[in-house]
């Protein structure tokens, strides 16, 4: 085992890791209000790509791109299969497909069976992102009514990524953040537990430190 590999993987979550190449954000019911706080405050010049996955009705076109395109400083688009991920771009997962990070790094879609009754599933995105980005990844889990995302966030954490969970007290549906936090009870370092405003402030701070 060489020393540099060992060092890189020992970066504690919350410690001076980075610079981070991507932010993955997952949520379900109640999360769109949080995105409304977070995404418009992402600064132009962000070096990381931002990939957002919400549970959505499967049989309708997603309006997220239309909604956020006018409100965000970053270029906003729906994720397309085999698309190379560009830094400083904001991607939304389309409904009824899983979204994964593949070699490249590229975006990849699949129609594999739903996980936690969800397609797209946050676990699928987060676990593949942890594989692809390792400790160069920020994972954020927001409000939601099931436990999708908990395993994925743990995978990001285990890979040395920077993990943030929305403070359950600030979530309109606390099940999802609570399920994620339950996996870390008593563990240090644990994910950062932050309100929507504090998450936005943290992004800006990390950007100012040239880590995002």
């Amino acid at each position: 085992m060489n020393a540099s590999a060992a060092n890189a993987s020992n970066t504690p979550a919350g410690g001076p890791g980075g610079p981070y190449q991507a932010i993955v954000i997952g949520g379900s019911s109640g999360a769109i209000d949080v995105l409304n706080v977070l995404l418009p405050r992402l600064p132009v010049g962000l070096r990381a790509a931002v990939i957002v996955l919400l549970h959505l009705p499967r049989d309708r076109r997603s309006l997220l791109v239309d909604i956020f395109r006018t409100r965000c400083a970053l270029p906003v688009q729906e994720a397309e299969d085999q698309q190379l991920i560009q830094s400083g771009h904001l991607y939304f997962a389309p409904p009824d497909y899983h979204l994964l990070i593949d070699n490249g790094p590229r975006l990849a879609l699949s129609v594999d069976a739903p996980l936690h009754f969800s397609r797209p599933s946050i676990d699928v995105l987060f676990e593949s992102a942890a594989d692809g980005y390792g400790d160069k990844l920020v994972g954020v889990l927001l409000s939601g009514a099931n436990d999708d995302g908990a395993a994925g966030l743990a995978a990001i954490h285990a890979a040395g990524g920077y993990t943030i969970v929305q403070d359950p007290a600030s979530a309109s549906m606390p099940t999802m953040p609570e399920a994620a936090l339950a996996r870390f009870s008593g563990q240090t370092p644990a994910p950062h537990v932050l309100t929507p405003d504090a998450i936005a402030a943290r992004f800006i701070q990390l950007h100012a430190q040239r880590l995002l």
Partner: protein
């Protein structure tokens, strides 16, 4: 062991396993999208009681039955009949009027898996009065899926969703006209099957086998890396008649492919393309 090292070793193991499968069984997954494949292989590890992909590779090489089982994990896709009803509506309203001008019609469903789309197309063509002069080639690399497709048997609890999709796809008949239900399953009418030919065919390693008027290949290319996508699209171009039609999945596109210049958008929002005149 540091996480990074473990992840790196897992990547090596995955490449070696896919090489082993190719050399021993001639199934080529090496140019498949690796992230999806990785998820499927991880769940296969549990099924075959292996701790690592290296262990699984050992079993795959020495126990052909393990490979047969693994193939299910790597290839089977569950789709719905008339999935994305607007796609079928586009075929019905825009493509069928042109197909109607041909004395005989050939359709290729590439990557048909367990056959949901094949039966959907057969029913649509029957409703439009074209099935009698149509032959549908349905191909897949998975022999078990092909056998299931050929039987045309689906679980009864899926039929409500199929029926709703069929209606939204502009269905002119009742889906129940085409099947009989028994013991929690439905069996589709043999008369439909007379117009289908099921066959083993790989988009990764085989070549064109027929000239066809319409190819439907949906949510298959998303499992391929870009080069293999281009290979498959090249086969489709070669298999299509002059001005033939190609239908892809709702999130698949020719836009970034080497074949883009050889096709026109026909019904772009439903991913129906038409081969350009000329070559």
């Amino acid at each position: 062991m540091p996480h990074k090292t473990k992840a790196h070793i897992a990547d090596i193991e995955q490449r070696l396993l896919l090489d082993a499968i190719y050399h021993q069984y001639h199934y080529d997954f090496r140019a498949y999208a690796q992230a999806s494949l990785k998820r499927r292989l991880q769940s296969a590890l549990t099924q075959f009681s292996c701790k690592t992909l290296s262990q699984l590779q050992d079993r795959v090489l020495h126990e052909p039955a393990v490979f047969t089982g693994l193939l299910q994990y790597l290839t089977v896709q569950v789709s719905d009949m008339f999935r994305d009803p607007s796609y079928f509506l586009a075929l019905r309203n825009e493509v069928v009027p042109i197909l109607r001008t041909y004395p005989s019609i050939k359709v290729w469903v590439a990557g048909c898996s367990t056959g949901e789309e094949v039966y959907s197309l057969a029913i649509l063509l029957h409703e439009e009065g074209l099935l009698d002069r149509t032959l549908i080639y349905a191909t897949d690399i998975n022999p078990h899926a092909l056998r299931a497709a050929e039987q045309g048997v689906f679980d009864l609890d899926r039929v409500a969703a199929f029926t709703e999709n069929h209606a939204r796809a502009g269905g002119r008949s009742s889906l129940s006209d085409y099947y009989t239900a028994r013991y929690g399953r439905v069996v589709f009418d043999k008369a439909l099957r007379e117009h289908m030919v099921f066959s083993d065919h790989s988009l990764a390693t085989d070549s064109v086998f027929a000239e066809v008027h319409l190819i439907s290949c949906r949510n298959v290319l998303i499992y391929f890396e870009r080069d293999l996508q281009n290979r498959a699209l090249g086969l489709f171009h070669d298999a299509l008649v002059h001005r033939g039609f190609l239908g892809l999945g709702s999130k698949e596109s020719l836009r970034f492919s080497a074949q883009a210049e050889h096709f026109d958008d026909f019904v772009l929002e439903d991913r129906v393309y038409r081969k350009k005149a000329g070559r």
